[in-house]
Amino acid sequence: MFADGEIALRPLVPDDLPARYAWRIDTQTHLISDSRPLLPITWERFVEHQSGRVKSPDHEDFTITRGGQQVGYCQLVLYDNLARSAMLGISLAPDARGQHIGRRACELLLDHAFRDRGLHRVWLGTSSINEAGQRAYRAAGFIEETRERERSWVDGRYVDEIRMGILRREWEARRGEHAQG
């Protein structure tokens, strides 16, 4: 649906699920992307949960591809129709990290959020230990707004939880710079 060179976002298809399941139960992926307990979720339950999820404009789920191959997924959820905001989430395959794919996928999703959905604000939450994620979010235009001390329990210790946000006018200013540059 949306593309930046070889990086693209498209709707989820059933064939994407086995890889997503593998990331879901990967301990390293869980460490940086999920503050809920690591659970031995079964394949059947995972599929049931995915198909039972409400498919609506208020829960957008994109598969991220590079050269047509799935390398992760990203989401816009928790739409707030009053404040015109939504939460962004993203997860990349372990071998797709460190190559600026996250930043480019975030930029595509932000363009969609502000241009197509008319949002006022997009925000996200991330663990303080996910430093690569924070670099990617900052590069995509997010600003750190809150740091909740010892909010999450990750692998035997408390870590901070960070929330970041970008406002519509900041996204517009970035677009203007790109157009001039």
Binding site: A83, H120, R121, E144, T146, E148, R149, E150, R151, G165
Partner: protein, 177 residues
């Protein structure tokens, strides 16, 4: 059940619901305390909401002063893994600005840390609600930043301030009981 200097926290009774409901849908109170849309919630809906809350492990209390119901308070969204929860308070308009808030917050934090063994308690408050922020700060909550323009209240975007207090901070300030 739980006693502060002036306030008593006890389980919610069904005959509390009309009073709590009136306090909830009061527009001024709603806009001062709530970042969701004001809507004409039917009373039956509020009863269902209460039943749902009561069925959870959450800690939902009615607050009394001298036997009179003045509002409610709660620890909600309990995180079993990280051992934290959100704190919320809602008083009827006639009972605001009398110091009952701080009294209630202290009782609720004592319950959170000493009875429920939580590690942390947090909340989000509209940046326009200066008196509430002052009350939270007086009870040990630390300002942890603000979610910019995260709420839309009566015609304008407003920041949401995030505040949190850790068990060790609470114990250092009030723990040597």
């Amino acid at each position: 059940m739980l006693k502060g200097e002036r306030v008593t926290l006890r389980p919610v009774r069904l005959d509390d619901l009309p009073t709590l409901y009136d306090a909830l849908i009061d527009p001024d109170t709603w806009h001062a305390t709530n970042d969701t849309a004001l809507w004409p919630m039917p009373f039956a809906e509020y009863e269902q909401l209460h039943a749902k809350r009561a069925a959870e492990e959450a800690a939902e209390f009615s607050v009394e002063v001298d036997g009179e119901l003045i509002g409610r308070c709660a620890l909600w969204q309990l995180d079993d893994l990280a051992r934290n929860a959100n704190l919320g308070i809602n008083f009827g308009r006639a009972h605001q600005g009398k110091g009952y808030g701080k009294d209630t917050i202290r009782v609720l934090l004592d319950y959170a840390f000493n009875k429920r063994n939580l590690h942390r308690v947090q909340l989000e408050v509209l940046a326009t609600n200066v008196s509430a922020m002052a009350a939270y700060a007086a009870c040990g909550f630390v300002d942890e930043g603000r979610l910019r323009e995260h709420a839309y209240v009566t015609g304008a975007w407003v920041d949401l301030v995030v505040m949190g207090v850790l068990r060790k901070e609470w114990l250092a300030a009030y723990g040597g009981r």
